[in-house]
């Protein structure tokens, strides 16, 4: 109904603007255009606005594009020169003065352009011969839906990953399988991030996969991958960077969910709307920490209240879109997405999901009751009044929001469509809807969830979660593709789509589309459980290939998009540190709970407290990303601060001494060396390595000096 009314008013307004003598005026305008104005526009404007460039998104090549305007909004109002921005700009009455970086146009030129606009600004032909008007990006067409990522999953007939890879292998075959010892270490690091010397090489690989997937260390390792995507941190960022002392429950939720093999669709649903699914389940509540993990200013002036609220909602939506759907939806905040069919109105329809969603602390009481808890930001020492209650930060509705130093409220009752993203340019209220490209007209109702009477929330987030997980007409197929790609990426070092947060046209194309769809379908078949997918991938010939150099394959397929070899990759900072703790025998396996920023901690690195202004030095040095926006893939840099940390930090030294202590009991120097290699690399040293180490120890160096070197070796920090 609302849409209908809107169209009515628009068309009547247009009709009212059309002067009665418009036909005559247009005729006059055409003559002006042909005789002079076309040439003037070509000479003075077209180069930057439709020719070489389209500056400020304003294209003058065709009349349709001219009238559409640019990033400054409407530029030409036909029949109304004095209301046309263009006229103000060329008269230097408004900035930016036009033509840019050129002298002002002569008065007679300006008056001709004005006269032409007053005559309706008609074109007899585009200013560039044959140029077609740009497609209206606010309308999503069937053509748009044809982009592979928006298609339903293809039904791919295949028996295995290997079969599909070989089909595309351009005549190549897999590299030989890696040695058993290499595979055991590769598996350990991949699944748990911890080397262990206890596994026998004789054990069955399939059993080992099962065993490692059951290990709680699996969740700790893989949760860290998701925390990058969730731009997870435990402080507000901005000026005071206040701690969020009850935010760590979200991190624990991710670990627990992965360890219990929570179906991925449920994992997504709970992160968006856990409180609307199970309002009394602490785990479901904690999951909503996903929405609240982003930055938010702690000091907000009166004229920033509204814009900062839109920023906060954008953070929730943008992270949801890039993290779960691989879409750069935030680009559509100010203008229709330039490459993908994501119109601005879709953005605001989605954004309105979060209108009343804010961060809040709640106490979950032992009897399942949930109450509002402290609302001040810096609430370190505050503990729940009821014994046995758990205090956690959630991001939901219906409890008391955390209050910042603000000259306004925590949220507004309505979300508006904004022109150019500016709260000063409201364009009607936004009502909840979903991406047109991943739904059909009139479908929105299917996903709408009405909360029961007396519910604390609006049901909008659960509605969103229904759509996002719906494989049949919603976003579910894309959701599945994006997560299986992330699994692949962390097993192989590169995704099937190498840009894991961008499945749109600006991303890098999928190298194995059939395989991706086949895996996505497998995930859904397996009730969205991730562990069977891990096992499927890890059991493949592809994953078990040797990483030995093959010059011919490198030449044919430098990026390894065909996956006919295994390329070694460096471990993340967390796994490097955790490995050092593990081999030195001092690792404290305590799970969950509040973290610490003490580098001397002996717990796994995922339990570092993440304060945005005081990130952990050893993690940052090894490329842990700043937790500001969703990060799908970390860069791998090799820089001197990493070496300094391994050479000089008190921790590295301490762990070296720990490793030395473990090796020292093995016997003589040769045995100590062998033990060190077994602990660190799950193999025996070669005779050359043995001799080199022996010489070093014979020269009077300590075993700890030796162990520190071994823990710094390439082999220690790379998955081979």
């Amino acid at each position: 109904m609302r849409t209908f009314l809107f169209i009515l008013t628009t068309s009547s307004a247009l009709a009212a603007n059309l002067p009665p003598d418009h036909a005559k005026r247009m005729e006059r305008g055409l003559k002006l255009f042909d005789s002079e104005v076309a040439a003037l526009l070509k000479q003075n404007c077209l180069k930057c606005h439709g020719g070489d460039k389209v500056k400020s998104d304003f294209d003058m090549a065709t009349r349709e594009d001219l009238l559409r305007g640019g990033s400054h909004g409407s530029v030409v109002v036909p029949f109304e020169a004095k209301n046309s921005l263009l006229v103000s700009l060329i008269n230097h009455a408004k900035e930016p003065n036009m033509p840019d970086s050129s002298p002002k146009l002569p008065a007679e030129v300006i008056s001709k352009i004005e006269a032409w606009i007053d005559a309706g600004a008609p074109y007899s032909t585009p200013l560039i011969a044959g140029k077609k008007p740009k497609k209206d990006a606010s309308v999503v067409t069937d053509e748009d839906r044809r982009w592979w990522a928006f298609q339903p999953l293809k039904k791919v007939q295949a028996k295995s990953i290997d079969e599909l890879l070989l089909k595309n292998a351009k005549g190549m075959t897999f590299s030989p399988p890696a040695e058993k010892a290499v595979l055991v270490r590769r598996l350990q690091l991949d699944l748990t991030g911890l080397p262990s010397s206890e596994t026998s090489d004789k054990s069955d690989l399939s059993d080992l996969i099962e065993e490692l997937l059951k290990s709680p260390a699996y969740g700790e390792r893989w949760a860290r991958h998701w925390l990058d995507v969730a731009r997870y941190a435990e402080s507000t960022g901005f000026e005071q960077d206040y701690d969020r002392p009850f935010a760590f429950h979200y991190r624990d939720f991710v670990i627990k969910a992965l360890n219990s093999d929570m179906p991925y669709d449920q994992f997504v649903k709970w992160q968006l709307a856990g409180d609307e699914y199970e309002p009394q389940n602490p785990l479901a509540l904690a999951a909503t920490g996903f929405l609240g993990a982003g930055v938010f200013p702690s000091q907000i002036t009166a004229n920033e209240v509204e814009s900062s609220r839109y920023d906060a909602m954008d953070d929730m939506l943008g992270t949801t879109a890039s993290g779960m759907l691989g879409l750069t939806l935030s680009c559509a905040r100010c203008h229709d997405h330039k490459f993908d069919p994501l119109p601005t109105r879709d953005y605001y329809a989605m954004l309105s999901t979060f209108t009343t969603t804010t961060r809040m602390n709640v106490d979950v009481l032992p009897d399942g009751k949930v109450t509002s808890a402290i609302t001040t930001m810096n609430a370190k020492k505050n503990t729940p009044a009821v014994a046995g209650a758990t205090r956690m930060m959630i991001c939901a509705e219906g409890y008391d929001p955390i209050v910042m130093h603000t000259q306004g409220g925590p949220f507004f009752d309505k979300t508006y469509v904004l022109k150019r993203g500016s709260p000063l340019m409201k364009d009607g209220e936004a009502t909840q809807g979903f991406l047109q490209v991943l739904s059909k007209p009139g479908d929105a109702k299917r996903w709408q969830w009405q909360p029961p009477a007396g519910s604390k929330s609006t049901g909008k987030r659960r509605s969103l979660s229904n759509w996002i997980t719906d494989v049949d007409g919603g976003a579910g197929a894309l959701l599945a593709r994006v997560i299986v790609n992330r699994l692949w990426q962390h097993h192989f070092g590169t995704g099937l789509v190498p840009t894991p947060n961008d499945f749109g046209k600006t991303g890098t194309p999928c190298t194995q589309p059939e395989l991706l769809d086949w895996l996505a379908a497998k995930l859904i078949e397996n009730d969205w459980k991730l562990k069977p997918l891990h096992k499927l991938i890890l059991s493949s010939r592809a994953w078990q290939q040797s990483s030995a150099r093959d010059a011919k394959k490198e030449a044919t397929d430098p990026a390894n998009g065909l996956f006919m070899r295994f390329v070694p990759y460096r471990l993340e900072g967390e796994a490097i540190r955790d490995s050092m703790l593990a081999v030195s025998g001092v690792l404290d396996p305590t799970m969950h709970g509040p973290g610490t920023r003490d580098e001397n901690s002996k717990r796994r690195s995922i339990y570092f407290n993440i304060k945005r202004s005081q990130l952990i030095g050893s993690m940052v040095a090894f490329d842990q990303p700043e937790p500001l926006v969703s990060q799908g893939a970390r860069p791998t840099t090799t820089v001197a601060p990493q070496a300094l940390m391994l050479m000089n930090s008190p921790q590295a030294r301490q762990w070296a001494e720990g490793l030395a202590k473990r090796s020292s009991g093995a016997g003589d120097a040769a045995k100590q060396i062998a033990m060190t290699y077994r602990l660190c690399f799950h193999r025996e040293p070669t005779s050359a390595e043995l001799a080199t180490g022996f010489d070093f120890l014979q020269s009077g160096a300590s075993l700890a000096d030796y162990c520190q070197v071994v823990m710094s070796l390439n082999e220690f920090v790379y998955v081979n």
Partner: protein, 461 residues
């Protein structure tokens, strides 16, 4: 070869999973004509110094002292409830140099250099609040998490130093806090982290893990590195990522060298006495800033690309944020920095380095020409106007660009946005802001956004 190959702090090798530039070690965009600066020193006057009390002389404001500013929107500043009348500057203005540049008496020594400086009086920004305005000034957006100017320059120009970080940040050593938003002001955002600023800790060892621990001797460490290289090379044969692994071996050698060369760069005690005196490093009122300015010069000599030096701590009386007692506040921070800044200019000049070193002086916004009421009146934030000056690096001397209105409230003539300013800074370093791009979230991201910013060409000689 390696010595010139760095892109960041001791950077040797870089394999990006992002679609980064093909060769991260080389300059990303060709130099354009006019860019002379090889290094940039940004004296960031944190908190927002008042233009009308420093470099923007407004006799009309004195005439209208005490009058109400009609039509003033009380939300312009931070404290809508403390809006006072127009307030003349409590400082005395005099003309200096051949250019006859008007300066307040806050900077007697720096004012001697006005004929080498270009003043942009018509700067304006988009936020009236410290951290968004700081982010704007440093990263071109009011939101947190974007790459800062230093990172872009670092990314664009690469590094000339093999033993020092190529982008360093020095903050207030007087225990008055960091600028609001702290490390996000020198973060690399979506650029690879090698391009982020290295914050030199103001007290204690400036760089993490630089010193060989007491439990081990340099000789033993040397033996360790030799062993490491030998073992690494033994397992290198046949590796598919040989160059990456080789780079890792080299990174340990570089780190080893840095252990001696980096402390040497910080050793201002090695400077001759007359130089120490010039910067006032032993003076109580300005010694701390003098040491930082002198360190900045030593870094420029050693090929550091971008040095950001924060004058003042976090906010209010801890920084240039003179909400109350503008007189005492500005007098204090000017006293701390005047002599060191003047010394930096003279010293770079006498070494022939001023032409290739751009010095920028400015903060995140300006201050209002009206009083912020209180026992000792101050001035509230003003996003509409502030002055930035530049010196060296091919910038014209004694030049004034743009104007504010007659009371210094708003930029009025030849307005310069923060994006314009950034485009100009990049141009000074020979970088074309339209071509210095990095692909992120599917787009070619730029420091200067999409609104066609303009280089203020007039400041270049």
């Amino acid at each position: 070869m390696l010595a010139r190959a760095g892109g960041g702090f001791g950077m040797l090798a870089f394999a990006s999973m992002l679609e980064a530039a093909k060769n991260p070690f080389s300059p990303k965009v060709p130099m354009q004509v006019g860019g002379k600066a090889k290094s940039i020193i940004w004296i960031f006057t944190n908190g927002g110094p008042s233009q009308v009390d420093t470099w923007d002389y407004k006799p009309e404001l004195a005439k209208r002292d005490g009058q109400t500013l009609e039509g003033f929107d009380p939300k312009t500043g931070f404290f809508p409830g403390s809006v006072g009348g127009l307030m003349k500057s409590p400082f005395e203005f005099k003309q200096h140099g051949q250019s006859g540049t008007w300066c307040s008496d806050l900077f007697p020594k720096t004012a001697m250099h006005v004929d080498k400086m270009s003043f942009i009086h018509s700067c304006w920004t988009g936020s009236n609040n410290h951290s968004p305005a700081l982010f704007m000034m440093n990263t071109g957006t009011t939101r947190m998490g974007y790459p800062c100017v230093g990172s872009w320059v670092n990314y664009g120009l690469g590094s000339e130093s093999d033993s020092l970080p190529s982008f360093v940040v020095m903050s207030d050593p007087m225990n008055r806090g960091l600028p609001k938003g702290s490390a996000a002001n020198w973060g690399a955002g979506f650029l690879p982290s090698v391009y982020q600023g290295t914050w030199l800790k103001p007290t204690g060892a400036p760089i993490e893990n630089l010193a060989v621990p007491a439990s081990i001797t340099p000789q033993r460490q040397r033996a360790q590195l030799d062993l490491m290289a030998r073992l690494n090379r033994q397992s290198l044969a046949g590796s598919a990522i040989e160059s990456e692994l080789n780079a890792r071996i080299e990174s340990f050698e570089l780190a080893y060298r840095m252990q001696t060369s980096a402390p040497e760069a910080f050793a201002i005690k090695d400077e001759p006495e007359h130089i120490q005196k010039l910067y006032g490093v032993n003076e109580k009122h300005c010694g701390h800033f003098g040491k930082q300015c002198l360190t900045a010069r030593r870094m420029v000599e050693r090929g550091v690309r971008f040095i950001q030096l924060y004058s003042g701590g976090m906010e209010n009386q801890q920084s240039w944020d003179g909400h109350k007692d503008i007189l005492g506040n500005h007098r204090g921070f000017a006293n701390e920095s005047d002599q060191p800044v003047a010394a930096l200019i003279s010293d770079l000049e006498q070494r022939g380095l001023l032409d290739q070193t751009l010095i920028i002086w400015g903060g995140e916004f300006g201050r209002l020409p009206i009083a912020q009421k209180g026992a000792q009146p101050g001035r509230d934030h003003n996003p509409h106007a502030f002055t930035v000056w530049m010196c060296g690096g091919g910038v014209k001397g004694g030049y004034h660009h743009g104007e504010t209105d007659e009371i210094g409230f708003k930029a009025a003539i030849d307005k310069v946005s923060v994006h314009d300013l950034h485009a100009t800074i990049l141009a000074a370093a020979g970088l074309d802001h339209e071509r210095l791009t990095f692909k992120f979230q599917g787009l070619d991201q730029k420091l200067t956004g999409v609104e066609n910013p303009k280089v203020v060409k007039a400041v270049f000689a």
